[in-house]
């Protein structure tokens, strides 16, 4: 076995561990049963929807294989071109249900960043759009202008991929820093009143933490000023549990800077073009139908965007439900949400790192062509 296989096996083991963790969570949780595209877990999976994945797998392969016939036919048949576009769109929807296409990374980003579903949907579409456009640009420059070989195209995709995964890691690190700091501060704030109650007589000695709280660094700072220990839930507006001076405020995210950050994230994800799109484009070019290929690629992207948007919406909704449950539990509920955000940031880094480490395992355009 080559090192690649070992790498791939290692990668899959890691994913398996993550999956096992998720399955552990799922046990006894009714909520997760409602996630149609969720990672299947053995107990319920055996009974429900077992055929769906296989069906999708078969359908998308059938759609893909029919593309070449439609591209050929569209040479002298306008109707075939519209059929091609329709099939490309459907292929995009089905294809993106499978792994890849940045769903995981985008979802992690949205969860970590408390994004709204509207933002999630928009970012999904932008990401899929970038993905299509990058495929078109690579083929246009490498194949049309430079008449490069498949090897060169594969190499270009490879480089773009590495850049994309590197950027994902960087964005994840930034998120982890912001969210981690926010979590640690919330943690300290959460433990503080317990210690405070125990050590009430010597409260003056608690100064370092106490002062920091009073310095207004923390959204909950009014808690300790009410003179009854830690009673945030008494007079607390729960919505404000989310507002921390650290990390982007929802309001701040709504501004131009927030969009820029969101765009940088989807840019990183979308940079990596889909191998299928590259192959379709080159095939169309070989039939002297490059522009037809471009149309097909853009519609594939539209289909992909729909699927990614659905997954992103699921992630955002799950987060909001968790948020609603958590907000009923002042103290630790907020802490739990912060922990989820930290976890999501860490996941984003993990995805980036795994993709980078196993980048050859994703879609090997160079399997035959170097």
């Amino acid at each position: 076995m080559s090192s690649l296989h070992q790498k791939r096996a290692r990668f899959k083991n890691l994913v398996a561990v993550l999956a096992a963790l998720a399955v552990t969570f799922v046990a006894g949780a009714a909520l997760a049963q409602g996630v149609p595209f969720g990672a299947p877990h053995p107990a319920s999976a055996a009974m429900s929807g077992s055929g769906l994945a296989g069906w999708i797998f078969a359908e998308q392969a059938a759609f893909y294989r029919s593309l070449s016939g439609y591209i050929r036919a569209s040479k002298d048949d306008g109707a075939a071109m519209w059929a091609l576009f329709g099939i490309s769109f459907l292929y995009g929807i089905f294809h993106a249900v499978g792994p890849g296409h940045g769903k995981a990374v985008i979802s992690s980003y949205l969860v970590a960043n408390q994004e709204t579903w509207r933002r999630g949907v928009t970012l999904s579409f932008v990401s899929a759009g970038i993905q299509s456009v990058v495929a078109v640009i690579i083929v246009a420059i490498a194949a049309v202008l430079l008449e490069a070989t498949a090897k060169t195209i594969g190499w270009t995709v490879h480089v773009v991929e590495i850049v994309s995964y590197g950027l994902i890691i960087l964005i994840g690190l930034r998120l982890l820093f912001v969210k981690g700091r926010s979590f640690l501060i919330a943690c300290r704030q959460f433990e503080w009143p317990v210690r405070q109650l125990e050590a009430a007589p010597s409260a003056a000695g608690m100064s370092p933490v106490f002062h920091r709280h009073n310095a207004g660094l923390i959204g909950c700072s009014h808690c300790e000023t009410d003179g009854h220990g830690f009673h945030c839930d008494g007079d607390h507006d729960h919505a404000s549990a989310w507002s921390h001076a650290h990390g982007p405020e929802p309001a701040e995210l709504g501004g131009a800077g927030g969009w820029r950050r969101g765009l940088s994230a989807v840019m990183a994800v979308g940079l990596r073009p889909c191998s299928g799109a590259i192959i379709v484009l080159v095939f169309a070019l070989a039939q002297d139908l490059f522009w037809t290929g471009v149309g097909a690629t853009l519609l594939m992207g539209l289909g992909t965007a729909l699927t990614v948007a659905v997954i992103a919406t699921l992630a955002v909704s799950a987060r909001q439900i968790a948020g609603r449950i958590a907000s009923a539990q002042a103290g630790w509920g907020m802490l739990a949400m912060k922990a989820i955000e930290v976890g999501a940031s860490a996941l984003m880094i993990a995805f980036g790192a795994l993709l980078l480490a196993g980048y050859m395992a994703s879609e090997q355009l160079w399997m035959f062509t170097g």
Partner: protein, 213 residues
């Protein structure tokens, strides 16, 4: 309440977990294989002819210099053929052989070339065994465990024996339609490690079996 939070966590995690190796084929290969035997009746290797689907053929041919439009000579394709076999080394040529249950090792390919029969490229190559073997039960499987490449036996004469002892019997096992349980496994591909030894890969394996009693 803690359980609901755990549920919400799982809900969050599930879409996030949909990543990993890509389980979409982007290359389709129709294969014809010939199992080679020496005069003494021992098996010496496998000769493959792999026909690529039209889209991947066009992709592989991109930028390859050729004198006549729509035609490629064996010489014009020589460098691509070299590239193909070099690249395939990493994947063990997708060819896995066992003799009486023991793994048989192949040397690097010999006699390799590409031919272009519009619209498809066909890759010819021979994999010689490191040491010729004469097992009672031989099994040769061709498949890509990552399912990026979808292998399918040619409809007519998918496999032939060349110079095999007369008592040897060839059977061919096609990849079957996945059962419900296997489809389930398919959907879990991202979470479950797949390796050559996993029975799951057999769904997609094109199996050639030769019994020489």
């Amino acid at each position: 309440m803690k359980r609901s939070i755990a549920g919400a966590c799982a809900g969050l995690l599930s879409p996030l977990l949909m990543t990993g190796a890509d389980a979409h084929p982007h290359v389709w290969v129709t294969l014809h294989s010939e199992i080679l035997y020496a005069a003494d009746g021992s098996m010496t290797g496998v000769r493959h002819a792999w026909k690529f689907d039209d889209m991947f053929s066009a992709y592989a041919l991109q930028g390859i210099h050729h004198a006549k439009k729509g035609q490629y000579t064996r010489e014009e394709l020589a460098s691509l053929a070299q590239l193909n076999v070099d690249s395939l080394k990493e994947y063990d040529y997708f060819t896995f052989a066992r003799g009486d249950g023991k793994k048989l090792k192949f040397n690097g390919p010999i006699d390799y070339w590409l031919e272009y029969a519009n619209p498809s490229l066909v890759l010819h190559f021979t994999l010689p065994l490191k040491t010729p073997a004469a097992p009672k039960a031989l099994k040769v499987e061709v498949y890509d465990p990552t399912i990026f490449v979808d292998f399918e036996f040619a409809k007519e004469t998918p496999v032939s024996l060349s110079g095999a002892p007369p008592q040897c019997l060839l059977t061919v096992d096609l990849p079957h339609q996945p059962t419900a349980a296997e489809q389930m496994q398919l959907s879990q591909l991202d979470a479950t490690p797949l390796d050559a030894s996993s029975p799951f890969a057999e769904i997609f394996a094109n199996k050639m079996m030769v019994r020489c009693p």
